[in-house]
Each structure stands twice: as C-alpha cells, then as structure tokens.
C-alpha cells in the first residue's frame, strides 16, 4: 500500500479572501502528517499531528479559531479512531483546551471509556498534565464578529456557516 494522509479544513462557505490562506493551512497540515508517515510513524500519529496543526491555525473552526456558542464561549469536540483495534476516544463540549484532538487520544489510550464531556473531560485533562489555557486565547476577532452578526433574531447561523448548495 502507499502511505497517504488526507485532511480537510471544514465544509461550507469559505470567503474568497480567506481561501488562499486556508489552502496553505491544509497543505501545511497534510505535509506535517506525511512527514510522520515518511519517518516511519503510524497512521494515528499522522492524523493527530495533522489535526493539531489545523487546531493551532486560527483560520479553522477548531481549537484556536473555533466558532462561539450563543453565550460567546468556545465549546469544542474531537474524536480519534484506530483502524487496527477499533479503539476510539472522544471529548465533547470542552473548554480551556488548546488541542482537543490530543485529549481525545489520551481518552483512547489511558481510559476504558470512549467519550468524556465538559467538566469531566477537563478534570481528566488536568489529571493527565494537559495544560489548561484561557478561553480568550482560543477566540479570534473573526469568530467574535461572526457571533455578533448571528445574534440578531432573524439570523440563520447554519446558512451563514454552510452556505448555499454546492
């Protein structure tokens, strides 16, 4: 077989002024994952590395750059799955975590559970030595602007995010 890594940066409407930067972001993530494979790393290491890169890129809706909930807070979800064993790990509605994908891998590797949520996930993160970050560090001006735009009663957040039919 031919080693490969494939990444996505989210479906929906991508404003033209952001599309070139978004292309660069997904390309950098794919390269990072591919470097792991080229170095003899496993597929799980490759996908976690690629997604970590995307979480750290504020252009994308994950990690830093996540969209905001109705209260103006960040709540993030992540999942990993290993095709060899069908093991999986997930976190849901987590805050104060820079890289939820790495936390979901810890759920897979260090617990007998599949998914931890909210405060429980945060306690687990602390017990694993994962540093907590300030919410503000995950919130971009762009995310705050879109949140404000969609506070109006007539706003349609799903339409705003997903755009028209392809």
């Amino acid at each position: 077989m031919l080693p490969v890594v494939v990444v996505h940066g989210g479906a929906g409407h991508c404003p033209k002024e952001r599309s070139e930067s978004a292309k660069k972001g997904v390309c950098a993530a794919a390269r990072a994952g591919y470097e792991v494979l080229r170095g003899g790393g496993g597929s799980m290491d490759a996908v976690v590395e690629a997604v970590t890169q995307l979480e750290n890129n504020s252009l994308f809706n994950a990690g830093c750059g996540s969209v905001l909930n109705i209260k103006g807070d960040v709540e993030m979800d992540a999942l990993v799955m290993d095709g060899q064993t069908l093991a999986s790990g997930a976190v849901a509605a987590v805050r104060n975590i820079a890289n939820p994908v790495q936390l979901s891998r810890l759920v897979m590797d260090k617990t007998s559970h599949v998914c931890l949520t909210a405060g429980g996930a945060q306690q687990f993160a602390e017990s694993m030595g994962v540093p907590l970050v300030q919410q503000e560090s995950l919130i971009t001006d762009y995310a705050r602007m879109r949140w404000r735009q969609n506070l109006a009663p007539e706003a349609n957040p799903v339409e705003c995010q997903m755009g028209k039919m392809g």
Binding site: P3, V7, A11, V67, E75, A90, C115
Partner: protein, 140 residues
C-alpha cells in the same frame, strides 16, 4: 471542523476530527464530531473517514459508517463518499464533506457543500483544492 485520515506503511488506517461546532449553538450542544460512525470511523478491513458539515444531518445518516458500508459493498472510496453525501442531501437535506481512504492507499476528498478546503500527501506529491472540481498538485 477539521479532520484527517491516514494509511501507514503497515496498512493501518486512522481517523481524527476536531471542531468548534456550529455558529451560535446552544450551550451544551454536541454535534457529530465526537460520535463514532458520524464524525469519523476507521477499520483496517475497510478504510477510514473523517466528516464535516451540518452535524445534525450527519448524525441522522451516520455518514462515516455509511461510506464504509458502501465500500464494504465494493464501491471505491470516491464513489462511496459521493453516494453517502448524495443520500444525506436527498434524505435529510444535509450538506457536508468527507475525506476517505482505503487500506491500499486509495483516497478521496468529496463534498456537497459550496466549498471544502482539503489536501492530500502521497508519493511525495501534494494534492489540494477548495472549490468543486479544483485539484492542484505540487511536489513535496
């Protein structure tokens, strides 16, 4: 939402997906991303998928597992991805996108939404695009 799938030299596949969710969502709302079979799935016997799009629709059709079901029935990664996305669009009016691999290293990046940023690296070539039909390449 962001995600990745990969195949390593041993033929092991894996999937990862991460998201901030949907704009201005209710506090406590959880979408497809952390749900096995919805936001992603991986099985060395079939392949791996990471999904993105409108989470409530993706969960209704268990999109990632649906793609792998089509692959189990003999479809390619690309055909299975298109079939499942078309089903989600027609059945629940849901839009989204996916990246898919099989254990042999065949891959697909497909979407029914207006755009989806994607990239793939294989045999020292980088493939990428954003718009429907766009497929650019460069050497790594």
């Amino acid at each position: 939402t962001v995600g990745a799938v990969a195949v390593d030299v041993h033929g092991n596949v894996a999937s990862a997906t991460s998201t901030g969710g949907i704009l201005n969502k209710m506090e406590g709302r959880v979408g497809d991303t952390p749900c096995v079979g919805c936001g992603g799935y991986a099985d060395n016997r079939v392949g791996a998928v990471s999904t993105t799009g409108y989470g409530e629709a993706i969960m209704k059709v268990t999109l990632a597992r649906l793609i792998l079901f089509h692959m189990e029935q003999g479809q390619s990664a690309e055909a299975a991805s298109d079939s499942a996305l078309a089903y989600m669009k027609s059945r629940v009016e849901g839009l989204g996108g996916v990246v898919t691999v099989d254990p042999q290293g065949h891959w697909a990046a497909r979407f029914s939404s207006a755009q989806m940023c994607w990239a793939a690296a294989q045999e020292d070539v980088l493939h990428y695009g954003v718009y429907a039909g766009e497929h650019l390449t460069e050497n790594i």
